[in-house]
Structures are given as C-alpha cells and as structure tokens.
Symmetry: C2
Subunit: 243 residues, 2 copies
C-alpha cells in the first residue's frame, strides 16, 4: 500500500500498524493520541537516535545487567509496535516480561499476551494483585513480577505509575520522547528516543558490555543532564528549521 520510497515511509507504516492494532483493541484510542504526541517530539529530535539517547540506552543496558530482578512492563502500544524487539531484549537481559495496562480488561490482557507469545516473548503469568500505591485497577501487578523487581523498564509509561514505582524504591527506566513529561522527569533514567530505535540498541549493549563496564556506567547516571541534552537537541532543530 505505502510506497517504500515515500519520504515518510517508516512513520506511515508504523501508523498503519497501530491503526490495525486499534481495530483489534490491542491499542486504545487514547494510545493512538499518545503515539501522535510521540511523533511530534520525534520530529523535533530529527527521527534519529541522538548522542545523549545512545548514552542513556547504554546505561539502561548496564542497569538491567546489574539488576537482581529486572522486569520489562509492556503496555498495548509497546506490544503493537515492538513485540519481536521485546523478545530479543528479554533474551539479552534475562528480564521478566509483565503485561501491565492502563486500560485493563481481561480481553486486552489476553490479546496482548498472545501477540507477545507469538513473537517469542515469555510472558509472566499469575494472578495480579493491587500492590501499587494507586487507585483502582492501576494498582494491579504481579507479586512475583513488578512488585518485587529492583529495576523496571517501562516504555511509554504514564506519570502516575512511574512515580508510584519510584516511591516504592525501584530503579525505573523509561522510554519517552517527551523530555518534559512527568514520566521523563520522575524516572531514574529516561531514554528520549523512539521505541523501535531504543529497544534494539539496549539489547545490543546488553550483549556487548564487557565485565566491569556495567558498574561505572550505572554510576555515571545523571538523568537531569541527559534530559537537558535532549532538550538542547530539540532547541537546535527549532533554531535551524527555517534555514
């Protein structure tokens, strides 16, 4: 349908995929709007992995490798966009994968779990309990999963949940294209990059880091500096847009 030489090919293919997944209720309508927000910020960083994002991805790999119990929290948009990349990162990082939805229904939980399993993800099973300091179903997670994790990678997370996980003392890594969002500013480490560019980079670093490299990398984490560098890159693009 979409010609491969279209200047916006990649972005259009991704949109088509999300729209299809919205038809299957894997992605919510709110998830589509959230994707649009991400597109705008991705446009501002030039739709490429910046130097600061690559550094953040390397530190993310270090944190996952050093973790006692790393967990990857997957929502509808993540499952729709990158199921195979989640499988590869699970292999590279030996993290548990837990499905955790903002708009949680048994039907969506099942469809998303199936989509991930078809791509080779080993999805944590069990009875979710209200264990997070949040109201209603947003408190739900697995006792043996997110609840007992020391490091949680939550791509595309909402601000409240990110904050709740931080208050529980966890190291939270997020992938968020908006460096101003509450999630970006609350997380321990924020990767300002597009999901499908970020995940393979983290996986690659999980495989490439040599013994002794992870600890100094983790120790170098300065999220405020990483966010400032991301915003500087956006400002730069706004400055030269009209040249």
């Amino acid at each position: 349908m979409i010609p491969a030489d279209h200047p916006r090919y990649r972005s259009l293919v991704v949109r088509e995929r999300l729209a299809r997944c919205a038809g299957e209720k894997i992605v919510t309508l709110e998830g589509l709007i959230a994707h649009g927000r991400g597109e705008a910020f991705d446009y501002l960083i030039g739709e490429r992995t910046s130097g600061s994002a690559l550094q953040a991805e390397k530190i993310a790999a270090a944190l996952l490798l050093l973790a006692k119990k790393p967990v990857i929290s997957v929502n509808g948009n993540t499952a729709a966009l990158a199921p195979g990349q989640i499988a590869a990162l699970q292999d590279g990082s030996r993290a548990m994968v837990e499905v955790n939805l903002f708009h949680r229904t048994p039907e969506r939980m099942e469809r998303i779990t199936r989509l991930l399993e078809e791509k080779g993800v080993r999805v944590a099973a069990g009875q979710a309990e209200r264990l997070l300091p949040l109201s209603h179903d947003r408190a739900l997670c697995l006792r043996e999963g997110i609840y007992s994790a020391d490091v949680v990678l939550v791509p595309l997370e909402d601000g409240d949940r990110c904050q709740a996980l931080r208050e529980m003392g966890k190291t939270v890594i997020t992938i968020d294209l908006n460096p101003l969002s509450r999630t970006a500013r609350t997380a321990s480490l924020t990767i300002v990059d597009e999901l499908t560019r970020a995940l393979p980079n983290i996986t690659r670093f999980c495989r490439e880091l040599r013994p002794g490299e992870a600890e100094p990398l983790a120790g170098s984490l300065d999220n405020r500096n990483l966010l400032n560098r991301a915003m500087d890159e956006m400002k730069e693009r706004l400055s030269h847009a009209m040249d």
Copy 2:
C-alpha cells in the same frame, strides 16, 4: 467522568470527545494520531495563545473580511472539535463552509455535514469534481466552493493539499500547531495555535476590526516572521522546563 479540577481537564475532555467521534467514524484513526501531534506542540507553546498567534488571528480576520469569496474547508477533526465555533466564524466572516475530507467516503461526508448543520453551520452542497491538482479523491472539491475561492481557511490541513491550493494562486490560511510542518511553511498565513482557541479569536476580530484596519493588517503579513516567533516561544519553554 473527568473531574473539573483535574489539571489536564480541558485536554482530557477534548480527547474523550475525539474518541467518541472516532467511534462514530467522524474522526479517523489517523485523525487521532494527528491530534496527538498537535497536543505535543501545544504543550510546547504552553497551551495558550501566544502574542504572535494572536497577531496571526487578527490578520486572518482581515484576510477573510477583504476576500471576494472566502471559504472555510472543514475536515473530520475540525467538525468534531469545533462545530459551533465554525458556525460563529461563518456568521462573523460570511464565508462559505465546505466539507473536505482526506479519507473521503459518502458516509463520512454525510455524518460530518449533519453534525455541522446541527450546530447551525450552513454547509455548501453540490457535486464535488476533481478540480485540485492532486491524485485520486483528494482532488475533489466544489466548483462553486474551494475551487473558485480567493481566500481559503483550512484548519488542520495536510501539506499536499495546502501546496496545491497555493499553486492555484489562493491565499491559504491554516491553523497548525507544528510550525515546522509542510503545511505551516507552505500556507500564506499560519496560525500556530490550538483550533478551539484560534477560531473564536478570529471570529472576534472579524466583528471588531473597524473600516480601514483590515488592509494595513493584511499588508503587514510576514509568515516567516510569525513562524520564527512561534519557534522562539517553543525554544523558550524548552529552556526553562527544568527550572
């Protein structure tokens, strides 16, 4: 449902409305993603009408008042978000309103026309013809409407159509929160503001401008300068975000 004191009340209400309209096929799934892109840029301008946007809205009113044949081109997102405001602007500017859809189906044309008419918009009727220099159904418009207009207000337009209208020699006014978009850079006048803030401002200026004020305003139009000021405001916000 959404508590009125929620810090993101307005934005959440708008999202809910769009999702409802997506259920009724008035808004497309691509329209939801496009709305998200707008939200991101709106966030960067502080979700308020900037000084340069207000100036652009005043010039837009002048251009509409001076036009021989002004036409407002309405798409699905515009109809969903601001049907009553389109009616008020039609009254204030005596512009023709034509429904013009990127994803055009008879069913969507009819639903959107009905939604607008329920809010008091007089929607131009007739048989659309392929009159714009674009492929497929995107070329469709009314001979007595957009085709013969000298000034066209196209809120939330796509880049190709904006460019086609410009190549036909028309004055094109667009409302686009992304100052970097092709539409923003191709239009004769770009209002970098959120649709439901921009429309009532244009309507108010249509009523308030006194005889003799419109021409110097129209003559003062410098779209590149307006876009640069919008980008400066975004850079400013990025600069002070972490304070």
